[in-house]
């Protein structure tokens, strides 16, 4: 790894003389330090991006001591920092939370809600949790760097199937990761360090955080066509063309199922063609699996694409998340699997993954992984989980139907069949940014700026309000 080596700039004193200050440029707390003074520093005036008025009015001005008696005010190493923009997706919930209006509706982040609009902790999770708490023989020791062994094994089997040839051949290394994000990041860092072609192709559109994660790992992000706005379905021809034009050996990001944000998935025949092309070009598939079980309601069916790639002898990476399908969002549970050509290669890869993880967080958190391992390892809990998962998937499908029917009944202009055709947690509505903004301002309906709505956030009671908002937006805003 090349270390950047810049000579230290010539020593700058961090203490500067005070200057006369005016109320309009106050940015310090005016607190009563011995060096108390509000001072204008020449750079300050340019740094004022972001931050709202409410914050500024907290500050107040105390009279300056005389120059002679005042000590120089230390300059902070962080003075040049500006406020970072909100995350595009998580920021929706932040804005929603700030909204005092009682009819507000959060269709932003993909977190499941019941028909009462409440978050849900699965029954099996509660049971597993209770068991863990009651077991006084359990400790909270450090996990190994690669995480909880039982969890890793069960995750591998969940994703690939216990009797999958690659699993049987022991050529998959699976390490526990910090949900989907953390698994993607560790995988990307590894690829950035060891893979010969540090370019990754992502579908257009894709989950916003993908575009933040891969550059951090030194991967150049390119894209391939995916979503067709005209049909609101897959642009299969465009996708194949772009993958063909992409360099041999490039990394290709693929959503295992329930594509986020569009809900558009290739058909099995299309997956087969995609796979053959990728293998012909020696490209490296990197799978993101955040919704296994949510697409069709069947865990195995949802993994078709992944399993077929893993079975053809080629290599791949998989980032797996339990945030949604086990409702373990905040516990950050996931796994990174590297399917390698040989068991020996898998072992080498595992060792190097540890070197990525150790300087990032040493070892992963225990609690969520222990819950997952408990659920997956016991027949009854596993069975019950599958039923609960299907229940969530079914409720989402029901919401799709309710929304579609309501729009049809209302006579809202446009073709809304994509609501029924798209798969998984999200509907890519096709609403424009101005329409999205209008719906937020007038109806307090919150969604991401690309028009993606989380069906999981919708309930029978709130469908009418959403329909009102969509109808108004579509009729009156371009």
């Amino acid at each position: 790894m090349v270390l950047s080596f810049l000579n230290c700039t010539s020593s700058q004193t961090r203490h500067r003389p005070l200057t006369h200050s005016s109320l309009s440029s106050i940015h310090s707390t005016g607190r009563p330090l011995i060096s108390s003074a509000a001072c204008i520093l020449p750079e300050d005036k340019e740094q004022k991006g972001g931050g709202d008025i409410a914050v500024r009015t907290v500050f107040f001005f105390l009279p300056l001591p005389t120059m002679a008696s005042a000590q120089a005010m230390p300059i902070s190493v962080w003075e040049k920092l500006t406020e970072a923009p909100e995350d595009a997706i998580l920021g929706v919930t932040v804005a929603y939370n700030k909204d005092p209006n009682p009819v507000k509706l959060n269709l932003g982040v993909g977190a499941y809600r019941t028909d009462e609009g409440k978050p849900l902790v699965l029954e099996v999770v509660r049971q597993a949790e209770a068991r863990l708490v009651a077991d006084r023989s359990r400790y909270k020791e450090y996990l190994p760097i690669v995480g909880l062994a039982a969890f890793n094994k069960l995750s591998k089997e969940l994703a690939f199937g216990a009797d999958h040839p690659a699993v049987v051949a022991n050529r998959i290394t699976t390490v526990q990761g910090l949900s989907g994000t953390g698994s993607l990041r560790v995988g990307a860092e590894f690829m950035g360090q060891h893979y010969h072609t540090p370019i990754i192709y992502v579908p257009v559109p894709t989950w916003g955080n993908h575009n933040k994660i891969f550059p951090k790992a030194g991967l150049k992000v390119q894209s391939y066509r995916y979503y067709d706005p005209a049909t609101r379905g897959l642009n299969f021809t465009g996708m194949m063309e772009d993958l063909k034009a992409a360099p041999d050996g490039a990394i290709i990001l693929l959503h295992v199922c329930a594509h986020n944000p569009t809900g558009v998935d290739p058909l099995p025949e299309q997956w087969d063609a995609i796979r053959q092309l990728i293998r012909a070009k020696g490209q490296f598939p990197f799978f993101d699996s955040a919704y296994q079980g949510f697409a069709s309601g069947d865990l195995d069916a949802d993994a078709y694409a992944l399993r077929s790639f893993a079975a053809d002898g080629g290599e791949l990476a998989l980032a797996q998340s339990y945030a949604k399908n086990m409702g373990l969002y905040g516990e950050r549970v996931g796994a990174l699997s590297m399917v390698c050509a040989t068991a020996a290669a898998a072992k080498l890869v595992e060792g190097q993954l540890k070197l990525v993880i150790r300087p990032m967080y040493s070892s992963p958190p225990l609690h969520g992984a222990a819950i997952v391992a408990t659920v997956l390892s016991e027949e009854k809990l596993l069975h019950d989980w599958k039923a609960e998962l299907k229940g969530m998937a079914d409720r989402i499908i029901e919401m799709r139907h309710k929304l579609y029917d309501a729009l049809l009944q209302r006579g809202t202009p446009g073709d809304w069949t994509h609501i029924l055709k798209q798969i998984g947690m999200f509907t890519f509505t096709g609403l424009t940014k101005p329409q999205v903004d209008f719906m937020r301002e007038k109806y307090h309906v919150y969604m991401t700026g690309d028009g993606r709505i989380s069906m999981a956030g919708l309930s029978t009671a709130t469908v009418p309000h959403l329909v009102n908002a969509i109808d108004d937006a579509v009729r009156n805003i371009a």
């Binding site: 998580l90 994000t181 010969h196």
Partner: protein
Amino acid sequence: MMMQEAGRHVARAILHGSGRTGARVAPSWSGLMSGSARCISGSSVLSTWWGHVGPAPKDPILGVTESYLADPSDGKVNVGVGAYRDDNGQPVVLECVRMAEQRIAGIEYMEYLPMAGMKRFNGLAIKLAYGDDSPVIKERRVAAVQALSGTGACRLMADLQHRFRPESQVFFPVPTWSNHLNIWRDANVMVKSFRYYNPKTKGLDFEGMMEDVKNAPNGSFFVLHACAHNPTGVDPSTEEWKEVSSLFKEKNHFVVFDMAYQGFASGDTSKDRQAIRIFLEDGHQVACAQSFAKNMGLYGQRIGCLSIVCHSEMEAANVQSQVQQIARPMYSNPPLHGAHLVATILSDPGLKELWLKEVKMMADRIKLMRSLLREHLEGIGSQINWEHITKQIGMFCFSGLTPAQVDELTKNYHIYMTRNGRISMAGVTTKNVEYLAHAIHTVTKAQK
């Protein structure tokens, strides 16, 4: 159907060069496209992208436990990783943690935390680090972000430093926790060092340290261990801390306090943060990487906090927002459970009091083990000066054993420690202290 298909494809794979030679050869998959059912029999090895990947070195600390676990012999002793053990050599879950756990089980939702983590937890963590009545907290000048224990807090800090102070270097004491170097290296920050441990006195090389601090370019970043230095157990005295703080002011250096052992050094959490208090009183704007792994026994929960004292409330908000941007592409938001536990304990007076008692108990047991080990070594006639065993502070004793002596201890006595001679006193018990003393005496008999 899947299996048959798989079999066909596997059989058709073509080998182009063995990965083991390190040659990066792109496998050709053109055979797969032909659609023919022709199979290649025999032992064709599938080619891999990773053939050039070398075996990774074992982590010098965590690798010790791996080796220990693999050892089948009875009477083996693990004084490697710094995880607390009771006098039966068993890991401990604190009572206050058990109670907190029962309190929160089955109650809360498991929604995503914000990127900066649990606000309630952050507020309580910084009070513990800076004091309940700390002016910097009252003035809302502290950016605080929940992190993945101490490692995660350090990594956020290192990435922040690289992003906004790319010209700066980071200085570590010699020696320091080995993972510090990995963290800052992966953050692409230039790593430097300053003298700290004096092998002759097995204490602090104060003059050396001050000289190196003075010679460092103004405005350098320094990582200082707030208390119970790892691996040496050697801490500056109050007076020495004051002098260090003054010199740091002259040089405009930035300090990151790594505080992984608050409560473990003296048994008193308030006393153990004296270095931070001294620096704050001097007007420094410090950062603190805080861990609850040891002092609350929450190792596997990965719960810690990165806090940065800023110039103003607005600056703290800006800094926090930027640290969030580092967390988002790393793990999005931190794990919930550990934060819940800590927040429950610290916010409940009864639980907090119980915790403080339990921390003191752990610290006291370690102090007792120090006395016993030293007594035994002196009692069996070792000619070496073992004073440092009781002078050093916290979980670790920097024994002065050489790597060769450590290897001998492992090979002949099944005693496991890191090769720099660091003994985790938490792994010492009344049952194994005599055995340990004898073994150490045996391998060191030759030297003076």
